[in-house]
């Protein structure tokens, strides 16, 4: 087949177009990938695409500079070294007043690279314009319904009780009227009062009445003792908090260690409730905008004195008054650092698995604690003295492993008294806390 010169030229031309188009697409993909990589490596620490952070948002920044009357190319100079740009361009000088935090200099970034970054940023969709789907909305409604049902249950029983009483009285009245009507000796019947009649009735059915009264008296006694036993049982105590704090979100999904917020747990008697500046370490950025929990985070901002719009602290603070959940009586001494550092007890032994706790913190019932893998299984109610004592009797103390001078010394002395050591080990093959004085009254009460 013969092809004329013109035809072949056309063919080459169209081929060239295709090649150029493919090349352009590939290049733009490459450029945007390059822009994303550079943005994440160089800019993302301080800048976000559509939200002000340490630095201003970068979306549309090129257009903004152009519209604001910045000199040609001044934006590239700014990225390379903002001070040079601020000295050369009045608009850049104005921009430098945006925040007291100075921008780092990036002298290595070339003009094309800066363009790639800004083009990639401009290509990103604004998350605020994408309608947020409220997660767990249906679940929350379901939970409320369950709570309402439980609430109304006791009312149902109350109403039923009242109906019972009314029915008893009504039937009693009808019975009396019937008796009066059918009575042969009207005068005698007339004389009987309600009380006398009741007594007569009780005597007539004395066996049944006696049995029922016995049951009632016994159940009253049982109830009395049960309520006496429930005195000072903290299980299930779940005080409402000023901020609905979901532990599952923080310690579970986001993997924050317990010790980050409760940071004195290894140093002090108290595990500490974090001060609001610790909350702000993350929530300075996480403002929950458009999420259902945004009002909760607003409370943190109010407490920390953080002005979200102006991105600055105002200095007007107000403490968050949390309600302490695990409260021990004043005459009990409990030290967190002793248990966590020396004893090596995990938080979940006493507080349960907080990574799964979607509600506010509560005193977990001992049955819940026993379900957790690795926990020492106990039978007494959480936070009672029996519970402490039981654990002191079960928990083995790692003595003589060279990690704790105090226990190493005990180990050394025990070795000098093999009989006592053998006695300690014989019961259960381990040295437990109570054998080292964990059951001494003065350990906790002084």
């Amino acid at each position: 087949m013969e092809i004329s010169n013109i035809q072949s030229l056309k063919r080459i031309k169209s081929l060239a177009y295709v090649a150029i188009t493919i090349g352009l697409i590939a290049f733009s993909n490459f450029a945007s990938a390059q822009g994303e990589g550079l943005f994440k490596a160089k800019c993302a620490t301080c800048h976000m695409t559509h939200k002000n952070s340490t630095g201003p948002k970068l979306a549309g920044v090129k257009a903004k500079w152009a519209a604001g009357g910045a000199k040609e190319g001044s934006i590239y100079q700014w990225v390379n070294n903002w001070q040079t740009a601020a000295a050369n361009d009045p608009y850049a000088a104005e921009v430098s007043k945006w925040s007291p935090t100075a921008m780092s200099a990036f002298p290595d970034l070339k003009k094309e690279e800066i363009d790639a970054i800004l083009d990639w940023v401009d290509a990103q969709p604004d998350p605020a314009l994408v309608a947020p789907v409220p997660p767990g909305g249906a679940d929350a409604a379901g939970a409320t319904n369950v709570a309402l049902e439980e609430e109304s249950n006791s009312w149902v029983w109350l109403i039923m009780g009242i109906i019972f009483v009314v029915v008893i009285m009504a039937v009693g009245g009808v019975r009396r009227q019937l008796k009066l009507a059918t009575s042969e000796n009207e005068a005698e019947a007339e004389k009987m009062t309600y009380g006398e009649e009741l007594r007569a009735l009780a005597w007539k059915y004395r066996l049944q009445v006696g049995l029922v009264s016995l049951v009632v008296v016994i159940s009253l006694f049982v109830g009395l003792f049960q309520s006496l036993y429930s005195i000072n049982i903290m299980e299930g105590y779940q005080p409402s908090q000023p901020i609905v704090f979901p532990h599952a979100q923080h310690a579970g999904i986001n993997g924050i260690d317990c010790k980050y917020c409760h940071n004195t747990v290894a140093k002090s008697k108290s595990a500490s409730i974090p001060s609001v500046n610790v909350c702000m370490n993350c929530h300075k950025q996480i403002d929950g905008e458009g999420k259902e929990y945004a009002p909760q985070i607003k409370k943190i901002y109010a407490a920390a004195g953080w002005d979200k719009e102006g991105m600055k602290y105002t200095g007007k603070t107000d403490p968050i008054v949390w309600n302490k959940v695990h409260v021990l009586p004043e005459h009990v001494y409990f030290n967190h650092s002793q248990h966590v550092v020396v004893g090596g007890i995990d938080c979940k032994q006493c507080h349960g698995d907080m990574t799964q706790m979607t509600e506010t913190a509560k005193v977990q019932p001992v049955e819940e604690l026993n379900k957790i893998e690795g926990n020492i299984k106990l039978t007494r109610k959480t936070l009672t003295m029996g519970w402490c004592i039981e654990c002191h009797g079960k928990k083995d103390v790692a003595i003589g492993n060279g990690k704790n001078g105090y226990y190493d010394e005990i180990h050394r002395r025990l070795k000098q008294d093999p009989k006592l050591y053998a006695q300690y080990l014989n019961n259960d093959g381990k040295v437990t806390a109570n054998e080292l004085g964990g059951w001494e009254c003065a350990k906790c009460h002084y």
Binding site: A44, C46, P239, I253, N254, I256, S270, S275, N277, P329
Partner: protein, 243 residues
């Protein structure tokens, strides 16, 4: 008739017991106590402040006095070991005035100089030696896991669980970070950019210990010593201490 009496009685008993039960199921109430005056201290204990003054409860004070910042210029007691005490004395670099608005550090003494830049030459006063190095670095890793890892990631690449879950963004990679160890200390203590000040939750010794671990993350040979006892990475022990 008999049946009716039984039903009436059992119904009443059931109602009563349920009523009693519903009284104690209020999760906001800690329940009954044996002797509240023995249980609740009028003195203020950490996070347990009943707002009681001379037998009277002050609702407005309740819970407000127990969690407060220590008074200014007070120094915690760190024992009697002189090298430890020296290490724990207050950090000599001051924050800039700008830290008030950016990191909420109101009420501090401020410096007008750019102290972050000045901190470039500060050296870690916790010296590593062939014998102590691994213990310090193990402790550093432990602290890092508790305090930093959720954002900065186990490997220090800025991909911690918080970043991976999409909750937080913009955590830099330690490898290629321009900051020197003195500047790392300044940043951890007073905060930098989005990162808050961690001086309130970590003491100076802990921060320097963490910095040892960060440098190990940057360079796997950091803190390692060869058979002759010489440091593999030269900058490990420097005699010019910063405090």
């Amino acid at each position: 008739m008999k049946k009716f009496v039984y039903t009436a009685f059992s119904g009443a008993a059931l109602t009563m017991s349920l009523l009693l039960n519903s009284c104690v199921s209020n999760t906001d109430s800690p329940g009954l106590e044996y002797a509240p005056d023995m249980y609740r201290t009028p003195g203020i204990e950490t996070f347990v402040d009943y707002g009681e003054v001379r037998g009277r409860e002050h609702k407005a004070w309740k819970g407000r006095l127990s969690a407060m910042t220590p008074p200014r210029n007070t120094i915690p007691f760190y024992g009697t070991d002189s090298s430890e005490v020296k290490l724990m004395l207050p950090y000599f670099r001051k924050p800039n005035v700008a830290f008030r608005e950016t990191h909420g550090l109101y009420g501090w003494d401020y410096s007008s100089a750019d102290e972050y830049t000045l901190a470039v030459g500060d050296k870690n006063p916790l010296l590593l030696s062939a014998t102590t190095s691994e213990a310090v670095l193990t402790k550093g890793k432990e602290l890092f896991t508790a305090m930093c890892q959720h954002c900065h990631g186990e490997k220090g690449d800025g991909n911690g669980p918080m970043v991976l879950s999409g909750a937080y963004a913009g955590v830099p990679n330690y490898v290629g970070l321009a900051a020197t160890e003195g500047q790392m200390f300044y940043s951890i203590y007073y905060g930098k950019g989005m990162m808050g000040a961690h001086g309130s939750i970590l003491n100076k010794k802990e921060i320097w210990t963490i910095i040892h671990h960060i440098r190990r993350l940057q360079d796997a040979n950091y803190g390692k010593f060869d058979a002759s006892g010489a440091a593999v990475v030269a900058t490990v022990s420097d005699t010019t201490n910063a405090n």
